[in-house]
């Protein structure tokens, strides 16, 4: 239980505060068994803002994140659309979408992109997926830009058949055939 050296302590301090930004100087002084002044000097040298600033930052940052997450409601960004005919979307694979171990995208995000695109191309108050046959052909990896294309093959009064193909760098990674149910008013299915 020897005390850390300055440099050592500062490194740990950084990660500690990163993990838990809600730590006061007093608590930190307690943790490292040094005086409050030492902690303050450390923060000064590492230009770590004071507790209140840190909390404020968390509060404002996370408000932004929530906004961008509700944007993720429709997964992927629609880049071209020809209503009831075809549509294109772009989805960039980020940290949250992959298996930690190998950075391969989880299948359901690719499905979600395709599914969202089907909902979008059928622009109705109610559009639900009825069934789908899908195939994962190749892996998508972290930071890949996935371009998904949906083409409406058939449409009748309340159903549409849509095929979706997703590609990374022009290579097919996913394809699916979706049957969508839709209506113009708030009908019930099943």
């Amino acid at each position: 239980m020897t005390k850390y050296k300055k440099h050592e302590r500062q490194e740990i301090l950084l990660t500690r505060i990163n993990e838990d930004p809600f730590l006061t100087d007093e608590k930190l002084a307690d943790i490292f068994k040094v005086s409050i002044q030492t902690i303050r000097l450390d923060r000064l040298e590492l230009s770590i803002p004071e507790l209140r600033e840190r909390i404020k930052n968390v509060a404002t940052e996370e408000v932004d994140k929530i906004k961008s997450l509700s944007l993720q409601e429709v997964i992927g960004e629609i880049i071209d659309i020809d209503l009831n005919a075809q549509a294109l979307s772009l989805f960039i694979i980020e940290e949250g979408h992959v298996f930690e171990r190998n950075e391969i995208a989880r299948g359901h995000f690719l499905f979600a992109q395709a599914n969202s695109l089907c909902v979008a191309v059928i622009n109705r108050p109610l559009a639900l997926t009825k069934s789908a046959e899908i195939e994962f052909i190749r892996q998508a990896k972290l930071h890949d830009k996935v371009i998904s294309k949906a083409v409406v093959n058939e449409m009748d009064n309340n159903k549409a058949a849509i095929t979706v193909e997703s590609k990374v760098d022009g290579r097919l990674i996913f394809k699916g055939r979706f049957v969508m149910y839709y209506s113009n008013e708030g009908d019930e299915i099943g």
Copy 2:
């Protein structure tokens, strides 16, 4: 531009602070053209905490949300598992999972639950979805508790066939047949 009456002012104060929790008493006093003391009395009567408390609340709330979202990495909570044989998971439909308009769950979350469950039941370093046939039988609504059951039908050296059924209150809402690819080391697919 007459001054508000007490009650009136307090109502507006409430909504104002709700909209923007980062307002100091000083700014609020300025807005309502009253003294700081009046604002403090108002907050006391309405039991609105002080600025710093409010900011802290925002920060902690949002930290919780982020945590529950990275937990969403595996969508749904696994409640029972018999490796390579079958597994059960629970997924509660929340605000972020439904269409705003009608509070019906987006299909890809139900798919994600099923897909995650398939990955979980095949407990291998690499387990990827190869293909799936799925059917959405009935809608799931906001706050529904969806129980998903995966049963492994066949397994060979590197593939498994799994059927999944999801129910709400015992009624079938989704079913799917998944083919999963897996390996014990970091092999490549395709």
